[in-house]
């Protein structure tokens, strides 16, 4: 636990909408010390799961919107994060331009599947829809099988992550220059802006590259080990290290040192790498990775990570009280700034009176 003052000490945040993007962005803001008030009422989308509640809502104050002047609450805040559909704010009397004109320092972050404008702005999306429309899904999964959505809710978390980073950046601008802004985050654009070399290579007229599953190249792929799965990911300059780790003279001294030969004989090379990985356990492979400085990684599960001495030593974890016991979750995303670990999950509406008292001087 950091003793340091948190960077968002005294910053007030209203979270509205209730999906993963707003909840995750506000979760990070709460951790860095903001007073986050989540306004809840008749939900529009599917509710968060119990596990998502524990991770995303712990440490936040929860307010019921029944009979509440939400507009006054928002105008008492420094940052509003929301993920309602475009127009939802305006229909509640919270039109961004209007809020901004009443409080120029206010930062409003809106996270939606497709953004506030454009022909798809009212289209519905779940995580898989956003993941597909952002382009990452076409590249994910095995070559000869269906494209595959990544696990968890990555498209929605990406939106929340960008919403969080944009919120603190715009808030800094408000602190320095007096002016906040309204930020229109599109989940589709968050993903479409991270298509690595795949987007430019097609934009310049190259062919659409197929998804390559776990094997982009033989020396860039995931292989089975004796007791799990291991990834070997060697850049051109790291191939020699990898081959020396494998210890097969046909690799270190043979034609495979030539990158073109490797490209033309992927199956032969993969067969040798299978032989290597299948003769070791994951622990042995990680020892080799450390000794040889080769980019090798093993597929760890959350349970494995929870048992990691390295992560415990670095202080990653937060512990959250729940009725089912103590949940251990990833905490501060990086050390070096004060972090306020969430202690427990508040009950819906638990903080309504206190927030009205503190933020609105007792007047609903």
């Amino acid at each position: 636990v950091s003793e340091e003052e948190t960077p968002l000490e005294g910053v007030r945040v209203v979270e509205l909408g209730g999906g993963i993007p707003a909840a995750f962005a506000a979760h990070q803001l709460a951790g860095f010390g903001a007073d986050v008030v989540r306004i809840e009422g008749e939900g529009e989308g599917p509710p968060l799961t119990e596990d998502e509640n524990v991770y995303l809502l712990a440490g936040k104050r929860r307010v019921d919107d029944g009979g509440l002047d939400v507009r006054r609450l928002v105008l008492a805040a420094d940052i509003l994060v929301e993920d309602g559909h475009p127009g939802a704010l305006a229909s509640r009397g919270l039109a961004p331009a209007d809020l901004r004109s009443h409080k120029p320092s206010l930062v409003i972050v809106s996270m939606t599947p497709f953004g506030q404008t454009g022909p798809y702005r009212n289209y519905k999306a779940t995580n898989i829809v956003s993941f597909a429309m952002g382009g990452i899904m076409s590249l994910t999964g095995a070559f000869d099988r269906q494209p595959l959505v990544s696990g968890g809710s990555q498209a929605q978390y990406l939106g929340g992550l960008h919403g969080f980073a944009a919120a603190v950046t715009a808030h800094l601008g408000a602190v320095l220059n007096g002016e906040g802004d309204w930020i229109d985050i599109s989940l589709q654009e968050c993903a479409a802006g991270m298509l690595e070399l795949y987007a430019p290579s097609t934009a310049i007229g190259g062919p659409v590259l197929p998804r390559m599953g776990n094997h982009t190249r033989a020396e860039w792929g995931i292989y089975p080990s004796l007791d799990g799965w291991v990834g070997l990911f060697a850049l051109q300059r790291q191939v020699r290290n990898l081959f020396e780790a494998v210890g097969d003279p046909e690799l270190t001294d043979g034609p495979f040192v030539d990158s073109l030969y490797r490209l033309e004989h992927p199956e032969e090379l993969a067969a040798k790498l299978y032989q290597f990985t299948l003769s070791h356990t994951c622990d042995e492979l990680m020892d080799i990775a450390r000794e040889r400085k080769v980019p090798i990684g093993v597929a760890l599960t959350p349970t494995d990570l929870l048992a990691s001495s390295s992560l415990a030593e670095r202080g990653l974890w937060d512990e959250v009280e729940t009725p089912q016991g103590i949940a251990t979750v990833p905490g501060r995303p990086y050390p070096g700034l004060g972090w306020q670990p969430p202690r427990r999950l508040h009950r819906p509406g638990e903080d309504t009176a206190a927030v009205v008292d503190e933020w609105l001087g007792g007047q609903r």
């Binding site: 960077p7 596990d51 998502e52 497709f114 454009g118 022909p119 519905k124 779940t126 952002g134 899904m137 994910t140 595959l148 990544s150 696990g151 968890g152 990555q154 978390y157 990406l158 992550l161 980073a165 603190v168 950046t169 808030h171 800094l172 220059n177 802004d181 930020i183 985050i185 599109s186 479409a192 298509l195 070399l197 795949y198 430019p200 097609t202 934009a203 310049i204 995931i222 291991v230 990834g231 990911f233 790291q238 400085k293 090798i296 990684g297 093993v298 760890l300 599960t301 959350p302 349970t303 990691s308 001495s309 390295s310 103590i326 979750v329 990833p330 990086y334 050390p335 070096g336 700034l337």
Partner: protein, 410 residues
Amino acid sequence: MKKRPLEGVRVADLTMMWAGPYATKLLAEMGADVIKIESPRAWDNIRTLLPQPGVADPWNSAFYFNEYNRDKRSLVLDLADSRGRDAFLRVAARCDVVIENYRADVLDRLEIGYDVLRSARPDIILVSMAAFGKSGADRDFVGFGPVIELMSGLASLSGYAGEDEPFKTGISYGDPVAGAYAASAVALALLKRHRTGKGAYIDLAQREAAAGMAGEAFVAASLRGEQPVHRGNRTDRWAPQGVYRCAGDEQWIVVAVVTDQEWLACCDVLGRADLASLDLAERQARHAELDDVIAAWARDRDPQDAMETLQDAGVPAGRVLDSGEIHEDPQLIRRRFWVYLPNPKMIRYKQAGVSWRLVECNPTLARHSPVFGEHTREVLAGVGGLSDEEIDALYAAGVTSDAPVNPEVG
């Protein structure tokens, strides 16, 4: 014109590849003066990945590099040489932020670690973003995106139904995730400095940043000992959900029916009123059969038409846009997401625009990625305060250069 939030903030950017450059791309878009620092010998190898064919200087003409390094300045200095290091420290003393994503031991070996930087500028903010951080038993592991995805637990959550094999995302997913987090760290550290006058040292571990992207899986593991279950493209929360092939080469749509009302609308589109009364439990029990119904409907349809038909009826659906089709997507085009930013070294092509749309200040991209060493003289003189003679000496000694000395290593 309204100021962008980071105008006036100067960043010494030692990052390479993708994670760090993605972070500083975000900072540059928000108005920061980002000075990208490379060595004549150790330069950003992305510079030669996917170059414009037939050019003499591929390190100045790579599309991938261009995409993530626009609106940055290029300073070339060999930091392993004491003269280069000294010049760097003179520049760093005039920067608010230093950011690096070297392997964990490199910054200290170059003798420009946090303590050194702090003596150059007491309130400096250092953001390091090594794969596993600079402390802890795993710090010596080498890793980038796909390694991070495996070691953070994320890959263990992905896979085809009923199969053990974990799947990595098709991009180097750990990189932009760590990059976006690093950008947030810069703003938070600047807020802290504004209030306290103190700098900060952020020891971001890319693995930890990625783990935070699936916190609910850690709740399930720690509370109930649950191991990840691979469900392919389905979810245990609603049904049907899946990916379905359409007409054309490798064209697919996704459909995700959450509510009974959406299912009713979906059945109307499918022409299967007989299935409309199935509730969630029945839809889950008969998922494979419903997949077949949707697949048969989609098979001969144009994917765009299929998506629009479903969405117009109120059913969540989308195309699995590939790297070609995504450049033609009507939504992204209407929102001017793709921009043509001229680069004299490159053909005209569609590039991704600014990530964060601040509606009022409306940040736009001004300039292509810098050519190697383009701003060396300007930065050393204007920021570092070096004289012309000092700069000439650095060129003469090969401590700086306007071309990599080893262009073949990329």
